[in-house]
């Protein structure tokens, strides 16, 4: 069953696209720049991504993050004291562990001398964790940083109403029995209704599913197109899972339960089955359904990022270079989910590459309709000229290079953890498919009003012969 796949929190507001260029093998050309440090992805892992409310349901968020960290330690055998810093991304915060990075690190047995912090940037929170790590290394602050992300939707903080909270806080301060009784007496039925995490975007009061449906309609994306894309995602994910390609997944022994070692949201269906579903947000004529949206997911991810120098000195064979990235943001109402369209040409220009240079594309699939809308926007001269100030269209990524091992629609989308999965998947696909450049794009919530472009940029330098790496990598 598709059940509640979605609970859109204070998601998408800015669209923010994060793009990481990953280079490898075949010597086309190097993207290294003089006087900029080379930064590498050494390893990336994740817990299996599970539908929320299933096997992980009795855990806490830091438990999942702990599992990912321990998996990373196990895979890399890195001495715990070599890690200089730990950064985690998350969206819905468990109030007891608001710096979930720190709790998870301590729980995973890292030294208590390693500082850690938590970042939040909606669906690209772990992208933010990774780029923060890149920043720390580039600035010479650190040599080895663990970045990751976690999301736990089986339990979310549900609060008392504001009225009730106010009464309870006053109760704390009440000195006499009389004061207490009068406060208790002021409680009405209305005080007792709970407050769920915001279902709608704070700035526009619109849920993300609703926004995605409007976006799909704006670009004329049909229901069939969306269902087809969702089916493609599930089929490819199933194939990748069966072929054992999802090497980033680690096994996790859940206390009191069995060992979990596979994602459980992958379920290829048929077009007929999918066509039966009713629209989930815009009724009765909408096109976004449970089957063509990503579902509520529990999961955590982690990556080890190092300066190339340090990685080589320690005898690692890095999986990829992390070359460049860009964040953009625009109108939270009508262009909420169009980040990839805006960000892709920017990051390509920064790197001096074109669309055709890229061998592997990994785009975050929030909704099938959102992906299709982005593809149509990238294919439109009018859109590029009217909204992006370009002379001509961005161009679309070829589908035979696009999300070939499934995506968020099928593998699941634990908001804070997806970014690391995308980057690790690009590295693994480059290795498997023998490509050189990969590109990651994801859209997310949060940010500024209107079309201000927030652009964070970081430059990474130095010449390295990556042919050598190709050899190493192929030997792995």
């Amino acid at each position: 069953s598709w059940r509640f796949f979605f609970l859109s929190f204070r998601k998408i507001y800015t669209i923010l696209k994060n793009s990481l260029l990953i280079i490898q093998t075949k010597s086309k050309k190097t993207l290294a720049r003089p006087n900029v440090k080379n930064i590498v992805l050494v390893e990336g892992v994740r817990t299996p991504f599970l539908l929320s409310g299933t096997t992980y349901s009795d855990l806490m968020p830091h438990d999942l993050a702990r599992a990912a960290l321990q998996g990373l330690l196990h895979r890399t055998a890195i001495p715990k004291d070599v890690v200089d810093y730990i950064i985690y991304g998350t969206v819905i915060q468990e109030v007891k562990t608001s710096n979930v990075a720190r709790e998870a690190a301590l729980g995973a047995g890292f030294s208590d001398k390693i500082p850690s912090h938590t970042v939040t940037m909606a669906c690209i929170s772990s992208n933010q964790a990774m780029t923060s790590a890149v920043g720390l290394i580039a600035a010479g602050q650190c040599d080895a940083v663990v970045a990751g992300g976690v999301e736990f939707m089986s339990d979310v903080p549900i609060r008392h109403s504001r009225k009730m909270r106010k009464t309870m806080l006053s109760l704390n301060k009440a000195k006499t029995l009389g004061q207490r009784l009068s406060l208790l007496g002021s409680i009405r039925l209305a005080h007792l209704s709970p407050e769920l995490p915001a279902v709608a975007e704070f700035s526009t009061s619109e849920t993300m599913g609703h926004s995605a449906d409007r976006l799909a309609a704006a670009f004329g994306v049909s229901r069939v197109e969306q269902d087809e894309f969702a089916l493609r995602s599930h089929s490819l994910a199933k194939k990748a899972q069966d072929a054992g390609l999802l090497q980033d997944v680690i096994s996790f022994k859940v206390p009191g339960r069995d060992i979990v070692s596979q994602d459980n949201g992958i379920r290829p269906s048929s077009m007929e089955q999918m066509a039966k579903l009713k629209p989930a947000f815009i009724k009765p004529h909408g096109t976004v359904t449970a089957a063509n949206s990503s579902f509520l997911t529990d999961g955590a991810s982690a990556v080890l990022i190092m300066s190339e120098e340090k990685a080589l000195a320690m005898g690692y064979k890095p999986k990829a270079y992390l070359r460049d990235f860009v964040y953009v943001s625009q109108d939270p109402k009508d262009q909420l989910l169009l980040g990839p369209t805006y960000g892709t040409p920017k990051v390509l220009e920064r790197a001096g590459l074109t669309m055709s240079d890229i061998d592997v594309f990994e785009f975050h699939e929030a909704f099938a309709g959102q992906i299709m809308a982005n593809l149509k926007a990238m294919d439109s001269d009018w859109f590029a000229q009217t909204y992006m100030g370009r002379k001509s269209k961005v161009g679309t990524p070829p589908m035979d290079k696009f999300n070939l091992w499934g995506g968020s629609l099928s593998l699941g989308h634990p908001f804070g953890a997806t970014g690391c999965r995308l980057v690790t998947t690009v590295a693994h696909r480059l290795q498997k498919e023998g490509g050189q450049y990969g590109l990651v794009a994801a859209c997310a919530a949060g940010g500024q009003v209107s079309d201000t472009h927030v652009q964070h940029s970081l430059v990474v330098p130095a010449m390295i012969a990556f042919c050598t790496y190709a050899k190493h990598l192929y030997e792995l």
Partner: protein, 740 residues
């Protein structure tokens, strides 16, 4: 040159310009667009083409359903063509027009194939009646999509079946509310009321501009629904809930219906005081169940016809048209658009001006001399916006974004980048001069200095200016966010570009604008002053505030004269009476100014001080006559002159002074035309809308008759009632009219 001919030959029919249609599978999509106007109206041409197209659609066996949609952005059908109604010479002509409309709508209602109205933008009056004759309605949730029956505001009734179909759709109370208030209903509310079946979200930009794609999407959804109805997948009858059924049953009971009609009639009578025939007719037309349908339609068509010929309807239509004229900038595009506005004085006025500016995207500085002042002012702006949030007309996020346009400060910092400064400081020429000099020392050369004064001549204020061409008057009315009028005052030296800028800012603030010449009291204050002087005399003669209020409201003023004085402020009234008394001499006499002065001395400054003619309690309606004020009146008691003290005499004493002064303003070129005079008096001072303003009043009442009445008063009170030359001219020659 033969090109147009070619087109003619290749078209199967004579080219239709307003209505077109195409087949999408078995759905006929009928598109409306009047190429000659900004909005679609049910003009003769539109109706003729519609009838023709519907004939073709109905006779085409391949068509299983139809969709009506407008391709005009922001407008479905804005109503009947007012010019068409105005062009009618007799009520019979209007009646036949109305009957034509009804016939067409009835055909649509009984259409053999389902018809879906796809609504984006204004759907008003005849447009709404058209839409509710269709079987199904889909509307966009756009802010521009509004539904309503504003006919009552033009002194008419929904003339094409609305009075019959609306109650079936939204229930009797809802229908009365719509028809009697004429208010606009937004799409989401319309859905809740049952006026539309389905809503469509407006889209953002995609592969086409947002608005264009939204209309296309609306059409796609409507076509889908039309197909669904045709093949019975979409049901037209909604299963009613228990409460709805119960309500319907109760409403159907004879005594209950009677009670509803009675309540509504009483309420209407109370509010209109019998001055407006349209609401009464609306109830009458509704309240005749049992009359055979055919007769029935004839019956209310003739009522529609009769209403259209009433002077009230002519007056209200005149106001509507005047308002359209006064919402245009007749002075061209200003050289530099005002983006940053600075306001001096954060009092009720200053903050009110800020309130209507920040939400229109103007960067606004609110400057005062005291921290308390700006704190109060900022709170007023916040409250204004927050009240909208409470009514769900605004999100809290939008409120915050809007407030980011406002900066409150005590000094002149950043005035150097202001494009316009509006001063709303105390009404004292020395203070005005002081701030003018201070401001001119810091503002850039292009910056305009506007004074929000209600009586001080602008040229006196400009006398202290180094650049009088940049000085202008902008007279706002309190409360600024509610009162629609803005009176702009130009001096001989004010440049045309300065005027253009002031008008453009006013329009942005959503105001109806009149531009008048300079002089003591300009136009509005100058008309009001003699009437208030007369009101004071009437009070001195022993007519209590309550009776004075009753006399004025029963004449059609929305607010009684005594209450009005309290609202304006007794101190302001005293100030104005004294200033204008000096300027115009005994003509502005009447009541004793000392009455007002004594009241001010005792602290009875009107509503703002809690006491004036009345004592104001906490509640809005909670007021009783102030006995201390009555004491003062007794002290200044005058003997009433029995020959001119009947109720009707008192009313005409008040009104004739107002009207005479207005006509004098036109004679002296303070006013540019009678239209602006009528608009200013109605929207700024509450002159009875059913009379259409002082000039339309003279036209319909008869100048000769008015002069006759004034002569009677003149015999006793002298020059205060001497008719001005222009009024005498009109009295001499009855063919002379202010309005054509």
């Amino acid at each position: 040159m033969c090109f147009p001919l070619l087109i003619f030959f290749f078209l199967p029919h004579q080219a239709r310009t307003h209505v077109s249609y195409e087949l999408k599978d078995d759905v006929a999509v009928i598109r409306l667009n009047d190429p000659t106007s900004k909005v679609n109206t049910l003009s003769v041409q539109m109706q003729a083409e519609l009838t023709e197209v519907m004939g073709e659609v109905w006779s085409n066996g391949a068509v299983k359903s139809a969709v009506f949609i407008s391709t005009k952005p922001g407008c479905f059908i804005a109503g009947a063509d007012i010019n068409m109604i105005q062009a009618c010479k007799s009520s019979e002509e209007v009646t036949s027009l109305s009957r034509e409309g009804q016939k067409m709508f009835e055909k649509i209602e009984k259409s053999p194939i389902p018809i879906v109205a796809a609504i984006n933008g204004s759907c008003l009056g005849g447009g709404l009646e058209f839409a509710i004759a269709c079987q199904y309605r889909v509307a966009t949730k756009s802010r521009k999509t509004i539904l309503g029956t504003p006919e009552v505001m033009l002194g008419l009734l929904p003339g094409a079946g609305g009075t019959q179909r609306l109650p079936k759709m939204v229930g009797l109370p809802g229908a009365f509310d719509m028809m009697l208030t004429g208010r606009n209903i937004r799409a989401d509310k319309a859905k809740k009321m049952g006026l539309v079946h389905q809503l469509v979200d407006p889209l953002g930009p995609g592969l086409k501009p947002a608005e264009e794609r939204t209309i296309e999407y609306l059409e796609e959804v409507a076509v889908g629904v039309a197909k669904g109805i045709a093949n019975k997948k979409v049901s037209l009858t909604k299963e009613k809930g228990f409460m709805q059924k119960l309500q319907d049953t109760v409403m159907g009971l004879g005594p209950v219906r009677k009670q509803i009609y009675k309540t509504v009639s009483d309420k209407v009578q109370k509010q209109t005081k019998g001055l407006y025939p349209a609401p009464v007719k609306i109830i009458e037309v509704r309240d005749c169940k049992g009359v055979k349908r055919v007769f029935f339609f004839c019956f209310f068509s003739s009522n529609f016809g009769k209403l259209a010929m009433t002077s009230e309807s002519r007056a209200l239509i005149g106001l509507y048209q005047g308002q359209v004229i006064c919402k245009k900038n007749h002075y061209g595009t200003p050289e530099k658009e005002v983006k940053k506005l600075a306001i001096l004085g954060a009092g009720l006025m200053g903050a009110g001006i800020a309130q209507v500016s920040v939400d229109k995207g103007l960067t606004t500085i609110l400057k005062d001399t005291a921290v308390d002042g700006i704190s109060r002012g900022e709170q007023q702006v916040y409250k204004g916006l927050n009240d909208k949030v409470k009514k769900k007309a605004l999100t809290s996020f939008a409120r915050d974004t809007i407030l980011s346009n406002l900066s409150a400060q005590l000094d002149y910092s950043s005035f150097k980048s202001a494009d316009m400064v509006i001063e709303a400081v105390f009404e004292d020429i020395n203070i005005k001069h002081k701030v003018l000099k201070e401001v001119e020392a810091v503002i850039p050369p292009h910056c305009i200095f506007a004074s929000n004064t209600s009586a001080l001549p602008i040229k006196d204020i400009a006398a202290a200016s180094k650049r009088p061409e940049k000085v202008i008057g902008m007279h706002y009315f309190s409360p600024v966010d509610k009162m629609q009028l803005l009176e702009i005052i130009t001096t001989d030296k004010t440049s045309k570009d300065t005027t253009a800028s002031a008008v453009s800012v006013g329009l942005k603030q959503g105001k109806i604008i009149i531009v008048v010449g300079d002089g003591p009291g300009f136009y509005t204050t100058r008309c009001l002053a003699p009437m208030l002087a007369e009101a004071v005399r009437v009070l001195q003669e022993g007519v209590g505030p309550k009776r004075l209020d009753a006399l004025t409201t029963s004449f059609g003023f929305p607010v009684g004269a005594a209450t009005l004085a309290d609202e304006v402020g007794i101190d302001v009234a005293a100030h104005v009476a004294e200033d204008l008394g000096k300027a115009f001499g005994s003509r502005f006499g009447g009541g004793n100014v000392d009455v007002l002065k004594t009241m001010v001395e005792k602290g009875f400054k009107g509503r703002k001080s809690g006491k004036g003619c009345y004592i104001y309690g906490k509640g809005k309606k909670d007021k009783s006559v102030n006995p201390d004020a009555e004491e003062i009146l007794k002290k200044y008691k005058l003997a009433a002159h029995p020959a001119i003290s009947t109720d009707s005499d008192i009313q005409y004493r008040l009104v004739s002074r107002f009207v005479n002064e207005a006509v004098l303003c036109l004679q002296e070129n303070i006013l540019r035309n009678p239209v602006e005079g009528d608009i200013g008096a109605v929207f700024g001072l509450g002159f009875p809308p059913c009379l259409g303003g002082p000039f339309r009043f003279v036209d319909s009442f008869g100048a000769e008759r008015l002069v006759g009445i004034m002569k009677r008063f003149e015999d006793i009170y002298g020059n205060q009632f001497t008719p001005c030359q222009l009024l005498l001219d009109h009295a001499k020659n009855p063919s002379k009219k202010f309005h054509k």
